[in-house]
Symmetry: C2
Subunit: 381 residues, 2 copies
């Protein structure tokens, strides 16, 4: 279990943030405690830090199936998305059109809105009832002046997987650059950039058992990009600021673990997740699945409780820690915009609970969570 | 000593990066190992993370003498400067003029150059022979449409202290916002924002015995600012992205230590630094000091060796780890732009070595470093 103590609820909110794996902490600790040099320094302290960053870059590249020099480290997924979207736009010249989807995270939606305020046209292709973008909708939206297509690989609330390889092929035919926010996907499903066909791909450490505060952007060789944050020439001029050596080491180690365990962990979590769904179906008549039944992250289960608010169900189930949607929107009593964009009614959207499993989730957790949710539902429905 | 092992050189490059203090590591470790929640999550895991961020915010505010809600956490000093400079410009309306200095770090100079490419006029006031900006030069440069005056509090290569309180008073009279990059100053000299009179002040964790990859911007209440990186609504809408909880905790702890030890450590380091200077004067005829003799950071000693390159002296002194200038410009054989801007000749600038002391520097370190530098100089001169 993920609990810190027995008094803690069962953690089913891995899509909000993951714990840092002990082997990831162990890998980074020497770079917090001893090897504190600035990677730009010419002396041995700097050299050690520089070597550590190079090793981590190779580890991230190995998971994505790219070259180390195609990895730019950032402070997280949000910054990676900003660099991708606004970085492409800055050098796009006469191409002033961007395609995105209606189901993006604010870390993509807000940079797109910024471009809209600064002379770009932005088209947002819809998602279907199961939360997916149709490649055909992107095809219809593409124009000769489309600079960028930015669509997430896996939706953070429903886990719905987008047809990125198809989108990429279509977009490239029209000369557009293709970016995928893969923050929720990396480590859960295969994310080799050549299989996906993307030019740019964002990673967030804390969705991947590395710490919060580090991420990376894959930048395919030849992709033109301008920095968003400006300063000294770190990261090939694309991301200034002294490198966060310990967390970069952590991200590298987390990517190595993800590569090693991807097949076994995704199968294991998928089985547990499907067991949780079967238990909820048996205990809660009318419970419905939000998102695609199969084209979905293996760890994610977004369900709507009929005739009850998801927030009320969770409040009545203190035995588990989950959320009604993205952690970035917690606190509101408004329905998820992502679920509404899928065409779900407000009542169904307000009934939603996101249950996201992870490496430390056990069969006992799932059984206990199903019981707690069923009991809570009976209390509040 | 700061060495990791006896084989390591004596570390005299604290201005490039500091080690993380053991008590800082200890404070943050629980937030790497156990309390991994997303501060935006509504459940107990989120609550614990949220409380930790709030405590750290209060610790940073206490060092700066401001309110906790005036602190915005960032990924480092570079991002803090970008947020300050471009954030003010974004909402400056008809004010299209910026004043900065010729001695700024690229983390300030590059955002200013960006503004220049986007319709702003930027004036760069010179520094004098001792590395300082004259308040009078700023007074003459101010215009009715000056949006921002951004001048560093302490110069990273020479340690020269800028007359920020005077500048701030002058600039405020004309309605300009005042920003100071205090990355090199915080923890070394008093930096209470009301004494300085600034509206915005940047901090970098790794110059302050916290890790690389975290920083903060002080934003005086009432100062209008737009975010630079765009996404969800974290940090009162000014800095999106899931908070780097462990490093924010570390920065808070480092600020608490800095506040506790400021007087004793700055006096101790000043004595050691002055001892190092006396020893160099005795051993190297003609050695010269770069920067102001007294209006200078207590830990910084920038000297020029006559008739020798600083890089050659350092290469011949493997017993110490220091630099010829900013770590962000290492590797080049070009003279420091900062020293040239002070009016030093190219030969003097190329002869420069920056020796920066820190909390772990001892009297033995200083004696050994002076001997090593004197011997190296005799070898290469």
């Amino acid at each position: 279990m993920t609990r810190v103590s027995d008094a803690d609820p069962i953690y089913l909110d891995y899509n909000a943030s993951t714990p840092v794996l002990p082997e990831v902490v162990d890998a980074m600790l020497p770079y917090l405690r001893e090897h504190f040099g600035n990677p730009s320094s010419g002396h041995p302290y700097g050299l050690r830090a520089r070597e550590a960053v190079a090793r981590a870059r190779a580890q991230v590249a190995a998971l994505l199936g790219c070259q180390p020099d195609e990895i730019v480290f950032t402070s997280g997924g949000t910054e990676a998305n900003n660099l991708a979207i606004r970085g492409v736009a800055e050098v796009a010249g006469a191409r002033r059109h961007v395609i995105t989807s209606t189901a993006e995270h604010p870390a993509t939606a807000q940079p797109c809105a910024y471009l809209e305020r600064h002379g770009f046209e932005v088209d947002r292709v819809p998602v279907d009832r199961e939360g997916r973008v149709a490649a055909d909708a992107v095809r219809r939206g593409l124009r000769d002046d489309t600079a960028l297509v930015t669509v997430m690989l896996a939706q953070n609330e429903t886990g719905a997987l987008m047809p990125i390889p198809d989108l990429a092929e279509i977009a490239h035919r029209r000369g557009a650059v293709v970016h995928a926010d893969a923050a929720q996907a990396v480590g859960k499903i295969p994310t080799r950039v050549d299989d996906l066909g993307v030019d740019l791909l964002s990673i967030a450490g804390h969705k991947l058992y590395a710490p919060k505060g580090v991420g990376a952007l894959y930048v395919r060789r030849g992709t033109r990009l301008a920095p968003v944050v400006l300063g000294a020439g770190h990261e090939r001029g694309l991301r200034p600021g002294t490198e966060n050596v310990p967390f970069i080491v952590a991200l590298g180690q987390a990517c190595e673990v993800a590569r090693r365990d991807l097949a076994t962990e995704s199968a294991r979590q998928r089985d547990l997740r499907d067991d949780l769904w079967r238990r909820l179906c048996a205990a809660v008549p009318g419970v419905s699945l939000n998102g695609h039944p199969t084209a979905r992250l293996p760890n994610t289960l977004n369900v709507s409780f009929p005739g009850a608010r998801g927030s009320a169900v969770l409040a009545a189930a203190p035995e588990i820690a989950a959320s009604t949607g993205s952690a970035c929107h917690e606190g509101g009593e408004t329905a998820s915009a992502v679920l509404l964009a899928m065409g779900l009614g407000p009542e169904v959207a307000l009934g939603a609970v996101r249950l996201s499993l992870g490496r430390l989730t056990t069969a006992d957790d799932v059984a206990a969570a199903a019981d707690a949710l069923a009991r809570a539902y009976r209390e509040v429905a």
